[in-house]
Symmetry: C2
Amino acid sequence: MPTLGIDLGGTFARAAVVDGKGEILASAKVAVQDRKPQGVVETIAQAAEEAVKQSGVKVDGCGVGAAGQIHKDTGVISVAPNLGWRDVPLAAMLTKRLGFDVKVVNDLSAAAWGELHAGAGRGAQDILVVFVGSGVGSAIIADGRLVQGGGGVAGELGHIKVVPGGRLCGCGEHGCLEAYAGGHNLIAQTKELLASGGSPVLEQLTNGDPYTITPVTLETAAEAGDAKAREIHARAAQFLAVAVANYVTVLNPSRLVLGGGVLTHCPGIKRLVLDGVQQWASRVSREGLLIADAELGDDSGIIGAALLVK
Amino acid sequence: MPTLGIDLGGTFARAAVVDGKGEILASAKVAVQDRKPQGVVETIAQAAEEAVKQSGVKVDGCGVGAAGQIHKDTGVISVAPNLGWRDVPLAAMLTKRLGFDVKVVNDLSAAAWGELHAGAGRGAQDILVVFVGSGVGSAIIADGRLVQGGGGVAGELGHIKVVPGGRLCGCGEHGCLEAYAGGHNLIAQTKELLASGGSPVLEQLTNGDPYTITPVTLETAAEAGDAKAREIHARAAQFLAVAVANYVTVLNPSRLVLGGGVLTHCPGIKRLVLDGVQQWASRVSREGLLIADAELGDDSGIIGAALLVK
């Protein structure tokens, strides 16, 4: 029987009815207006009911992918920064509201699960998924099973330390990979460079307007030969590459799936990361390693959440 | 029924009869003289038969922990540097010789399994074991299962890159953690320092004889205030600490087990590593993390190998 997948973000709840092969049969999206737990449960229920109605089929289970730290056994969300939640028993609340079993997992774990079963990971049992978007995240599948960690927060690649005591990260700690290479921080660093007046190329590209800056702006400036833009760009790419290479060395995945906005829209960074993995992952861990682009785009999480219920 | 555990090194094969609780009932050790596969199989069989005879019990299965890269499903040893082997089907050869099922795994995986079930990991399901001895190695248990990787070589923490393009490592690559922080390389760096004439303290400690140097010599010189010895010592400790902290961040183990000669005999390095993990592992990954010393010493591998057969 098909199942429901939910992608819970800070602004929308998306619901999809997904069949056993990972095909979306119908979907619906409802804006999150009331961010209090009970309000969000209602929003999810609306989206879910709409999707089920459109699909014309019955469903028997629901998986939710949500940004944040989630206790793997209970489905309690310990911290969800974009909703301002702490310790919300979302799985229990939704189970009560929807009338069937609900499983809640981290959004990246859901996305990795989707890519594993219906996307770029198909056929592999040991897979590492790395997403570089606004933040840097990852998920690990070992021998076909999701590695969640004792507290359910495994995969936080964005928060490994690359410069002990370095740049302040959004998490409140210093020197995290994400503080150098996450999209949000690439923009911040590029804005700092523009404000410093040290980059004529950037001045020209943006007409002096910091609000036009995206990671692509940085890459364009770097590739146009701007020394300081190139420094930020190269440093981000090298930190990412060494981190991913080291991750491959210790986990020895048979497949590495790369996705996320920065890697999708900044081919220069992606090329440096790919070259770096070839150069810096240990020889034995690279043997038999296949590198693939994420295939499901924004649907990976919703498909994965639905498939995780099985 | 008890099982056999084998610890296969470059100089000895040790065999032990181990009960279901991880207690050693009897053991035997035979020197490896003929390093050719058939010779080693005979040596193992002698040690195994002796251990079984001494124990006075019957056994029904055998696990082997061996240094090297081992294909997890077939028990073929792809590379065993200390025996000079490539592609040796050890599991099949031993099964034929001993007459019952034989499983072959990496020695560190075996040691981690031993610590999990009969040592410092008891009661935990998500455990990271890090050994710093001559080399730097690790093993990962996720949700009670050994993470082996697609090619069976997961856990090679010693070969993550800490200085891309840096010191040459024994593996033939540059800038590996082990090249800075493994015991063998701590000795090599200390010898280089002595030979350079740049360390009066080291000169005095060794009477100018490089053959007396161990990692403890380096720590003694560093703690006596020798600037250059302290540099090597602090760098090794920091690289280890950041590596272990980052590993904790991405895997979120509930228990971290530390062992191996360098961590056991150099309390200064160990203290810096422990401080670094507290400082650099992400806050959420540290919540609920228990750090423990390996308990089984040299027996962890043999006990783990025996228990892995079950």
